[in-house]
Symmetry: C2
Subunit: 252 residues, 2 copies
């Protein structure tokens, strides 16, 4: 993967960045690059770029940016609402969200979410950030998803979400991933949209009153197919299907 | 997740199965079940079933099957051909393959596949089987994907694959996941099919002569969308998109 994510913490001035971690190892051992070779880079929440290797040894790699350019942000803009998964799986959801250009990830309480998950250290930015950065590097993207945690289900869907919805484009499609229905995305995406909101439930699913409340907030139930997918794969599935629907003209 | 995968190794006779591992813990701590409660079960490469808890304590859980039934196998039948990923990622590809009902997974050599990956202990059945079983449990399926390793790329596509193809239905669509093209699955899936073969490349992609050879074997290049997805997510993406294409009638 010829794409390195760079943070301000790596900057040493004059457009140069110093790497000593797994990224340096990746450049040495996987990409097998050397002095003056080029890598594609992305500055977190910043431009994409091209850098050359100014110094490389077993201790460090120093990159110097030669060119920087801004790449557009994905349309449609994606907001993901996930019942908070257990920490091991949360890492993967963060990774997939960053990799697939999700704009905002809202982690919410649900009946079938263990209370203890809200005390997980994985909810601390210094702990989850590396998983987001890994996802950006894989996806060759630079914009970090906004991460918000909501420990009250009803407040989120009755109060928080409507305000978030009002704040953006009204050309929005709101999907509730629901294996109990026969509707597909084709049934939901009947007019052009530039925003998507997707609600994905916990292991074991949303309970009936939760489905009711989410549908009352305007989300429409939709099946992703005949499988039972773990949450990070459900997210990939729905975004992939939405891409196909969009490309065939219904989303534009 | 109320679905427990049972193997012959767990059988203690009379339709009873004894669990002492993470599955017992799952029943106790996540499902929070007790004596005489029911669980849904699946026998590896066998029927689905319903069992009740005949004994449960901190050491073991004994299940007794009450009902067994056969569930149909997914149509279309999916064959996945993946350039062998590194061991950490291979685990995830195995998991996704089992979770999504892949019939056969062929792990192949490619230019950008490190030779050392073929020596990985993850290629030994006793090491990869647990990841397949985890995937089956998540997916609520019972049929293990067949796993085959091919350490010669050209021999696979020129010799092995044509024989595999001949051995099954000719209503097959053959997809080469290729970010370098603008074709989508809609362009590929123009007539009914009951078999799918998907070729997914290594990190860094197939090299040009590999793309040529795979296309010569009848695979058609297709983009999954605007993302760069790690292999286990690329597999989910293409299967999800195929499901949507199938459901809208083109695949039937």
């Amino acid at each position: 993967m010829n794409f390195i994510i760079l943070s301000e913490e790596d900057a040493i001035g004059d457009g140069r960045y110093r790497l000593t971690d797994h990224r340096a190892e990746h450049i040495r051992s996987i990409l097998k690059l050397g002095y003056e070779d080029h890598v594609l880079v992305g500055l977190v929440d910043g431009p994409h770029g091209k850098a050359f290797i100014q110094k490389i040894d077993d201790d460090e790699v120093i990159l110097e940016c030669e060119q920087l350019w801004l790449e557009g942000h994905p349309i449609p803009e994606v907001t993901l609402i996930c019942a908070l998964p257990r920490p091991q799986i949360l890492k993967r959801v963060l990774y997939v969200s960053a990799m697939m250009g999700v704009r905002a990830l809202h982690l919410v309480r649900a009946n079938r979410v263990e209370k203890s998950f809200f005390e997980s250290r994985m909810l601390e930015p210094e702990n989850y950030r590396p998983h987001l950065l890994e996802g950006l590097a894989q996806g060759k993207l630079t914009r970090l998803p906004q991460i918000e945690v909501h420990d009250r289900f009803r407040v989120f869907f009755e109060d928080t979400w409507p305000k978030l919805e009002q704040a953006g484009s009204s050309n929005i499609v709101k999907v509730l991933a629901n294996p109990e229905t026969t509707s597909t995305l084709h049934d939901l995406c009947t007019r052009p949209y530039d925003r998507i909101a997707i609600a994905v439930g916990p292991e074991g699913g949303w309970v009936p009153f939760e489905v009711e409340l989410i549908e009352k907030a305007g989300f429409r139930s939709c099946s992703l197919g005949r499988w039972t997918l773990r949450v990070e794969f459900a997210v990939t599935a729905v975004l992939s299907q939405l891409e196909l629907v969009r490309v065939d003209g219904r989303g534009e």
